[in-house]
């Protein structure tokens, strides 16, 4: 086999490995892309503190709850709609009850619509930052303290905040928590 053939094989071999790793690079690229552009309505999973201002306008906030798969807990917002002013902090709660007879752990995942509102939402406190463990029959009111900043595009008059709770009782919880933290590391870099 001549030299140029060997070179072609080498280049192609590297390309194959390169593309394999590129497919994994798509994962952080996708996350960064979504966070920078706020495209998929994902919100940062760590606490941010923003100065309150008085120059805000009135908008409507809607709260939505979902149970993933067969997650048996009762999970619903205490208030479904809230009239708020941008630039101000508000606190609302979600009601949860473990209706089963075993101890269970849940993780809530937030999402915002329209998706370009996501980057204007700051949360000082959210139950979605942590895993929630409830004993059989135990209930709780889980708080979210949030602010919609005044840069929210003018055409947005109402914002929906949706939470889905997942049953993670059977998961390796530390591992999951680490993955979640890992995700919020990215958002720290990109903000």
């Amino acid at each position: 086999m001549n030299k140029s053939a060997k070179k072609t094989i080498k280049v192609l071999g590297f390309t194959v490995f390169g593309m394999f790793f590129f497919s994994f690079a798509l994962v952080p690229l996708y996350d960064v892309f979504c966070e920078v552009t706020g495209l998929n309505g994902k919100v940062a999973l760590e606490s941010t503190n923003i100065e309150e201002v008085d120059t805000g306008r009135e908008i409507k906030l809607q709260f939505i709850s979902h149970n993933n798969e067969e997650m048996p807990w009762i999970f619903k917002p205490s208030e479904e709609v809230l009239d708020v002013k941008t630039g101000k902090y508000y606190t609302t709660t979600f009601y949860v009850k473990n209706v089963t007879n075993k101890e269970m752990t849940a993780q809530a995942i937030p999402s915002v619509a329209p998706s370009n509102a996501a980057s204007h939402l700051s949360k000082l406190e959210c139950f979605c930052f942590n895993q929630q463990t409830l004993k059989p029959g135990e209930e709780a009111l889980l708080p979210v303290k949030f602010l919609v900043d005044t840069d929210l595009p003018n055409n947005i008059k109402s914002v929906a905040m949706s939470y889905t709770i997942f049953d993670i009782t059977d998961y390796d919880k530390q591992e999951l928590a680490m993955q979640m933290n890992h995700d919020s590391m990215h958002s720290e870099e990109s903000h």
């Binding site: 001549n2 192609l12 497919s23 993780q107």
Partner: protein, 527 residues
């Protein structure tokens, strides 16, 4: 280079070895081409049998023949087997037979790897098919295996599915490397790139696409494997992952993959139309540029499969326009084929019939593709039978007709015998009519709102489904005739000349029919 056999086999001289070991240890591009083509035909029959199960169930509304769970397994395996087992290996088989002979090379550049890349394929499909007998049944999540359907909700056999996809990917990648190295380094003196036959060009571009996207497919299934067995959360929202990410990764592979299945068909069609029109191909260099631009554009249109998952307006518009842009080079190709036929002295032998049908029916598939590319319209069409009709038009009378055309066109060269022209034409007309009876009505039931991938449907779709099933069985049975014709040609028939066809041009027509076991051991001169 092809010395593997010699060390094991004492009565090996210059012809093929005897018996079964000839096929097991062969490093000869013609033998391996033959193996690929027969394997592909076997898979075509297996995948076809599954299609018959699907169509039989859909003959009437209501559940009649199989359980919904089994229906899903048939649907999944049908798609996977037809794509990875029938269409792709058939094109690799054609490349093996034809590329060395067309560029005047003695063999493929890496003959032992060639042997390996073929023989791991039957193994991969054995693993995939054996999942039918495992607990929980075969994969049932569709050929697109969207997570979390293929992770959280998958049957246990998904691990075997992942393993088999890895092997298929390795096989394709090795095949692609072989083709590229052969074309780039083993052309006869004087054959510059822009003098290469179009089939060689089409395969060169296809091979680069394979090198670029098969590793991404491997990455996607590896991530699934890790989610299922190692507790990662690539696609698991509970752990901060995202199922939509799966779709992006999959279609980043998936859209170029559909062009992998059509570019070699473009090459084949160009040869056949030029031969039977007895005219040189119209616009050779624009054909090359069209294929190259289609290949490059195919990397930036993947999200047209995802218009309805919820993308921002800017992305919807970008992917809509980028997709429509592909219609331009595609239109150039269709124009060139028609211009080649224009004022030609055309005869209608079987390969030409299949090639003309390819041009017409593939164009219909291109048009329905354009309709699907219109984002707002796709919100209605997505996941209906309209999409099923679209991709079957580009794949069955598209890719598969081109493969059949190629077999009829080159089989006199391969075997030294002419096929039976009357039977060939009969096979063509049976296939042509039945393929349209099968798939054309699916446009209508799709527009009327019948969703894809369900074993049952609402009453108003009953009539056309019945027609479609009748067409499907007719098409399936016609392919038995194809098998018969091929076997008959292999066993004997009118002797073919070296040139075979009056208007045929190219190096493969300068060697005997059938060619010696080793051709072009000294390179020919191309002027």
């Amino acid at each position: 280079m092809s010395a593997v056999i010699e060390s094991h086999d004492h009565d090996h001289h210059h012809g093929p070895a005897k018996g079964l070991t000839r096929w097991l240890f062969t490093t000869n591009h013609k033998d391996i081409g033959t193996l690929y083509l027969w394997f592909s035909f076997l898979m075509f029959l297996v995948g076809g049998a599954m299609a018959m199960v699907i169509r039989a169930e859909l003959f009437q509304p209501g559940m009649q023949i199989v359980q919904p769970e089994f229906y899903n397994q048939m649907l999944t395996l049908h798609g996977l087997i037809m794509i990875f087992g029938a269409v792709m290996p058939a094109f690799v088989g054609l490349a093996n037979w034809l590329v060395p002979m067309m560029v005047g090379a003695p063999d493929m550049a890496l003959p032992r790897m060639n042997n390996l890349s073929f023989w791991i394929l039957p193994f991969a499909f054995f693993v995939l098919l054996s999942s039918l007998f495992m607990e929980g049944g075969a994969p049932n999540f569709g050929w697109t295996f969207y997570a979390p359907l293929s992770t959280t909700y998958a049957p246990p056999s998904v691990t075997f599915f992942i393993f088999s996809v890895h092997i298929m990917g390795a096989s394709s990648i090795m095949g692609a490397i072989n083709v590229i190295v052969t074309i780039m380094n083993m052309r006869a003196p004087g054959m510059t790139l822009m003098k290469m036959p179009l089939f060689v060009w089409s395969w060169l571009i296809t091979a680069y696409l394979l090198i670029a996207v098969m590793p991404v497919l491997a990455g996607a299934v590896t991530m699934m494997l890790m989610d299922i067995h190692f507790g990662t959360s690539f696609f698991n929202a509970a752990g901060g992952g995202d199922p939509v990410l799966f779709q992006h990764v999959f279609w980043f592979f998936g859209h170029p993959e559909v062009y992998i299945m059509i570019l070699p068909a473009f090459g084949i069609t160009s040869h056949i139309i030029s031969t039977f029109s007895r005219k040189p191909l119209f616009g050779y260099s624009s054909m090359v540029w069209a294929m190259a631009s289609i290949a490059i554009l195919s990397f930036v249109v993947w999200a047209h499969h995802m218009f309805t998952v919820g993308m921002p307006l800017a992305a919807e518009l970008f992917f809509m326009w980028a997709t429509m842009l592909i219609a331009v080079p595609t239109g150039v190709k269709v124009f060139n084929w028609v211009a080649t036929m224009f004022k030609g002295s055309i005869t209608y032998e079987t390969p030409m019939l299949f090639a003309i049908a390819f041009v017409v029916l593939f164009t219909i598939g291109g048009f329905s593709g354009l309709m699907l590319a219109i984002t707002p319209a796709d919100f209605q069409y997505h996941d209906t039978y309209f999409v099923v009709a679209h991709f079957h038009y580009v794949l069955v009378p598209g890719a598969i007709f081109s493969i059949m055309a190629a077999v009829y066109y080159w089989i006199p060269k391969w075997t030294g015998n002419m096929y039976d022209e009357r039977l060939g034409r009969l096979h063509f007309w049976l296939s042509f009519v039945s393929v349209n009876v099968t798939f054309f009505p699916q446009h209508w039931i799709g527009l009327a709102g019948m969703p894809r991938r369900y074993p049952d449907y609402a009453l108003q779709f009953a009539d056309w489904n019945m027609v479609s099933t009748a067409g499907a069985f007719a098409f399936g049975l016609s392919q038995i005739l194809f098998l018969f014709i091929v076997l008959k040609t292999v066993r004997g028939g009118k002797k073919a000349t070296s040139q075979v066809w009056e208007g045929a041009e190219g190096l493969e027509w300068t060697v005997d029919s059938p060619p010696a076991y080793h051709t072009f051991t000294t390179p020919p001169k191309v002027s």
